[in-house]
């Protein structure tokens, strides 16, 4: 997959492939018709995919904005009719202390902690892997893949089981060591602890991607660069920061962007936890809140407004990253 895709098609006239087909055995018809058919062919090939994307990703995106300006509750769901109420949903949303106190801090705070932990741990693992013998490396990478492959839903239940308040292995160990009384302690009621488990769960599933990707990058860094820095007396940290990091900047940008996108929209990992899917609970993030408002409290207009806010937040974050990423010419 190393071919630079942009150059593959070569510099033919626009709309015309480099080779115009079998010489002398072209289809009948005037040259212009053939040319037009050639120009239409890529669009014909693209049409089904673009139609599906437009109908099921772009149209809903437009509709969610439309819905967010409407009063849309259970009866509207039945009748299909709804009233335009202007920015009322947004006014309610932004004046709701729940947004500022709970949903927004949960979403952003969690994403920051999870992304930083995932990228840092993934990079450390990649640096370690790069120093291992090839055979050991393959074995360790395969084991890490197992964590990556674990579906979010199963992963969440396993972490819940590990930290189960009554019978979980952590609770039992703490009780055995005398740190915890036999009555136990409902730590899932504590927001920090709740999100600590979510972070653990998300980092467990997310760091393998970072490790494998950064490792692939590390193996391309010329050895001479490192050795030269070593001869100049640079320590391990300086060698990483001044040699490895600049070379791998695009790789780090990509893994950070993707981790950010994934961590902003965690759903199952929060929703399935105790109290994670209950309206008014301290634990909701924006993604779960939009779901609970619409399908729990049947206020689809309000749910749409929250969804729009989440989308805008995510687009803003990725726009910042993309600008940093595409500013560099060699990345195009």
């Amino acid at each position: 997959m190393g071919t630079p895709v942009g150059q593959v098609t070569g510099g033919a006239e626009p709309g015309l492939r480099a080779s115009t087909g079998p010489p002398g055995r072209g289809r009948p018809g005037p040259a212009l018709g053939l040319r037009r058919r050639r120009a239409l062919l890529p669009w014909a090939l693209l049409a089904p995919a673009l139609a599906v994307i437009a109908a099921l990703l772009l149209f809903p995106l437009a509709r969610i904005v439309w819905l967010s300006f409407r009063e849309y509750r259970l009866r509207n769901l039945v009748s299909g009719e709804s009233d335009f109420i202007g920015p009322a949903n947004y006014v309610t949303l932004f004046t709701d202390s729940y947004l500022w106190r709970v949903a927004l801090p949960n979403t952003v705070g969690f994403a920051v902690v999870a992304v930083v932990s995932t990228v840092v741990l993934g990079t450390l693992v990649a640096l370690l892997l790069a120093r291992l013998r090839p055979v050991t490396r393959v074995v360790v990478v395969s084991c890490i893949m197992v964590a990556w492959a674990m579906p979010a839903v199963s992963g969440t239940y396993v972490w819940l089981w590990i930290f189960d308040v009554d019978d979980g292995i952590v609770a039992q160990a703490l009780q055995g060591l005398g740190f915890l009384g036999p009555e136990g302690y409902n730590w899932f009621a504590d927001r920090l602890f709740f999100y600590a488990v979510v972070v653990l769960n998300v980092v467990h599933g997310g760091f393998p991607f970072v490790a494998v990707t950064v490792l692939a990058g590390l193996l391309t860094v010329p050895r001479e660069l490192h050795e030269a820095a070593l001869l100049d007396g640079a320590g391990a940290w300086k060698r990483f920061w001044h040699v490895t990091f600049p070379v791998l900047r695009p790789v780090f940008a990509v893994v950070t962007i993707l981790s950010t996108i994934w961590d902003f929209k965690v759903f199952a990992q929060v929703y399935l936890m105790p109290g994670g899917g209950v309206g008014g609970s301290e634990m909701l993030n924006l993604g779960v809140w939009t779901y609970v408002s619409s399908f729990g409290q049947r206020d689809y207009g309000m749910g749409s407004a929250i969804a729009v806010l989440l989308t805008l937040l995510l687009l803003a974050v990725t726009a910042v990253y993309l600008r940093a990423l595409f500013r560099e010419d060699e990345l195009r």
Binding site: I53, G168, L314
Partner: protein, 298 residues
């Protein structure tokens, strides 16, 4: 540049590097011990949850919690319960049906689209690629409400078809980016040779291009299978009858059914995880590079 001088310079460089390593770095033994400790820590962190899931699934209900760490008498009771009394077999069949629709749709549509963007130059080609890249960023949670309304209006709630069609859309952006790489990697000369031999475009497509991009199709198939198999929030919204649940949603049935039968939950989790792990081992190489290419190359 004569070879001997080159070798001598290289040898000199090597020895200087070795000396610098010795000077700056720790003793060889401590460094080895450090690496071993690091590897152990990573393996513990990654594998312990998986190990604990498996042993809990295979341990019998009577043993103590800590006893599940090393089940003395492995049993299949939990699996039997989950599959017979627990309807998990139905959920797995539902998930399989949804996944088949997703895989078929995603493979065909992404292959056609990938040929278009990798083999043709046309106006708005870059715009199309950027659009496909950007729609990936839209959070799924934000689309749940309108997608629910759309699927309901089409009378497709509680059907595998409704869920499958939406999953095709979800997997398409990345599938197109992945397939594009595979199609572009097929040398243009292969196609030109076929043209010279008088092959028409459809013949060229099926007889020449198709076999060469088959590995890409396998990767795309597995990738879209995993999306369909794992997806949670849309399945939760669309499948409202318990006999239509997919595995990700059906797993909740075992949670809090009685006072947390963790053996059942872990057996069901194991059944969900195993197919994904098998496929993942096959596909991970393409998945990682596809993600990175998709994000880096405009």
């Amino acid at each position: 540049m004569s070879a001997p001088a080159d070798t001598a310079a290289a040898a000199d460089w090597e020895s200087r590097v070795r000396r610098a390593r010795r000077r700056g770095g720790a003793v060889r033994l401590t460094r080895l011990a450090g690496r071993a400790a690091g590897v152990t820590a990573i393996l513990l962190f990654t594998l312990f949850p998986v190990y604990f899931m498996l042993t809990s699934a295979f341990s019998d209900r009577m043993t103590s919690t800590v006893g599940t760490l090393l089940p003395s008498q492995p049993t299949l009771d939990n699996f039997v319960h989950v599959l017979t009394e627990g309807d998990f077999g139905t959920y797995m069949l539902n998930s399989l049906a949804v996944a088949c629709i997703t895989v078929a749709g995603a493979c065909v549509l992404s292959l056609l689209a990938a040929v278009a963007v990798a083999r043709f130059r046309f106006r708005f080609r870059t715009s199309v690629l950027m659009l496909i890249l950007i729609v990936q960023m839209v959070p799924l949670e934000a689309l749940v409400i309108p997608l629910f309304l759309q699927v309901r209006d089409l009378q497709l709630l509680n059907t595998v078809l409704g869920l499958g069609i939406v999953y095709i859309a979800l997997s398409l952006p990345l599938a197109v980016w992945m397939m594009r790489g595979f199609v572009a990697a097929v040398p243009k000369e292969v196609e030109e040779a076929a043209y010279i031999d008088g092959a028409s475009w459809p013949v060229m497509f099926w007889k020449v291009l198709f076999p060469l991009v088959a590995p890409g199709l396998v990767a795309t198939a597995i990738f879209s299978f995993i999306i369909a198999w794992n997806e949670f929030v849309l399945a939760l919204t669309f499948m409202q009858q318990s006999d239509k649940y997919t595995v990700a949603v059906g797993l909740r049935q075992f949670f809090g059914e009685y006072a947390n039968e963790w053996g059942h939950v872990m057996a069901a989790s194991t059944l969900i995880t195993l197919p994904v792990m098998v496929f993942f081992v096959i596909v991970q190489r393409w998945l990682a590079s596809g993600l990175v290419q998709g994000a880096v190359k405009g």
